[in-house]
């Protein structure tokens, strides 16, 4: 049945979307920063996936690790060196700062990579699995599984480690956290690094499925934005759930209204949700 095909498509999209949104959501929740730079981090992660494959023959699923580390390190440096200077100020100030950084990054990538769309064309594709009448592109499916594993690892980190507790503590009471001996600025930088790492990893995963150009950033960003609010700002499981819902909306929305209306549809759902549940589906939780 065609319904199951759309369901599978939605699931596969949803996993990737969840992955692009978790880092964004964490940074927003903990640092109260709407990180416009997040889209560029994803794109940069995708380029790491693409060039590692074309130049070194490394599979993008392996490059998830390099992309995560590189973007995590970049996030750490950007937060510690630049954003920490204004982090205590209003959302507008940090928004403008990350917006400016995004513009610079965008132009740098245009110069470095040109505006061409690129995508990884795998030589040895995992092919398509056919179950009944449902077709599953296996490369995409594996990417989705990896995405959920990464989200689960992030959730474990937040839940079980002392870094995770420090992040949540800083989120809810900066001053009380510093009374526990937590270095607030360093914790901010670690949070931003985690956001960057998730973005980079997501980018590398997506390089197998989506053509990417330096200007793809804003599109990813707007999706991450909707997903994050859908699930509840700052919530890792919320972003996962929001991502899945978004994937479904895009998959089924494309059937009923046409692919070009997918984002519009998502925003309509978002507006309705905000009227009913202003704190998102999972509300304000620790992480």
């Amino acid at each position: 049945m065609i319904f199951f095909q759309y369901l599978v498509n939605g699931l596969i999209l949803g996993g990737l979307y969840a992955c692009i949104a978790t880092g964004f959501s964490l940074v927003w929740g903990v640092l109260s920063i709407i990180n416009i730079l997040h889209g560029s981090f994803i794109v940069l992660g995708a380029y790491i996936g693409i060039f590692s494959y074309t130049m070194l023959g490394i599979h993008p699923f392996v490059s998830v690790i390099t992309a995560g580390i590189v973007l995590g390190a970049l996030g750490y440096v950007v937060q510690l060196g630049i954003i920490n200077r204004v982090v205590a100020q209003s959302v507008l100030v940090t928004l403008i700062l990350t917006f400016g950084l995004e513009l610079m990054m965008n132009n740098a990538m245009l110069v470095a990579f040109t505006a061409d769309y690129r995508k990884v064309i795998l030589e040895k594709s995992l092919g398509v699995l056919e179950i009944g009448n449902v077709f599953i592109a296996m490369d995409r499916a594996v990417a989705t599984v990896i995405a959920f594993v990464l989200i689960f690892l992030l959730w474990l980190l937040m839940r079980l480690t002392s870094i995770g507790r420090a992040i949540v503590a800083v989120r809810f009471d900066r001053e009380a956290a510093s009374l526990m001996g937590i270095d607030v600025k360093k914790t901010y930088a670690i949070t931003f690094a985690l956001g960057g790492a998730m973005a980079g990893a997501a980018g590398s995963l997506m390089s197998v499925s989506f053509p990417i150009s330096p200007l793809s950033g804003p599109l990813f960003l707007s999706k991450a934005f909707v997903i994050c609010i859908l699930g509840g700002v700052g919530s890792v499981p919320g972003a996962a759930l929001g991502g899945l819902i978004f994937g479904m909306l895009e998959s089924f929305g494309a059937v009923f209204f046409g692919a070009e209306y997918a984002l519009t549809l998502a925003f309509i759902v978002l507006i309705i949700l905000l009227l009913v549940r202003p704190h998102g589906l999972l509300g304000v939780k620790g992480f």
Binding site: R165, F172, D173, A176, L179, G181, G286
Partner: protein
Amino acid sequence: MTKPLLNVTNLTSGYGDIQVLWGIDFDIAEGEAVCLVGSNGAGKSTLLRTLSGLLPARTGEIQFRGESIANDTPKHILSAGIVHVPEGRRLFGPMSVIDNLLTGAYLRSDKAAIRQDLEQMMELFPILAERRHQAAGTLSGGEQQMCAIARGIMSRPKLLMIDELSLGLAPKVVDSLGEALRRIQQQGLSMLLVEQDVVTAFELTTRGIVLDSGRVKIIGPTSELSENPMVQQAYMGLM
């Protein structure tokens, strides 16, 4: 005389253009429990905030175990052994009781001992054991204060500073908190207690500091302070 645990000399502090503390001098001996009383706005919280490094000391000296800690970071001061349980509890609301306590042990890495201390806190405050997985923000006021104190002790401090111990709590709850504090004190922990209710403060401590408009007005044994007509009139609602 033995060397004091904490020695504060000529300390001044404040916020921006506003100076709040004007030349504070006092000390606390090892194992001693001292209370800090004074009317609203006298500067009690400001003094604790300066001691714990949340506020810079403008002039003066703070010595803890013989070392200067004035203007050190809160992290450094905590690892030196001073913990500050802030006014209003300031728990991490959405985190469980256990996670709040573990956050109190953030600077420690001795996992086994941390587990042990957790159990000890559950023994000291049995109600916390029942509520260990509950979000701290949903605890009652008394339970929150217990959780905040336990969270502070999880850092294994030498000096425990509590701001507004009894504020908003029923007398029975205050009694049981006081009982717990006595037990902790018997294990050698020193205490600096900020308390609005002077009667409670004098019961729990042996020496008192009366702060007035950012200056030390009187300092002495609580047994003497409670007989002092000025203290009785101004702070104990007597006469």
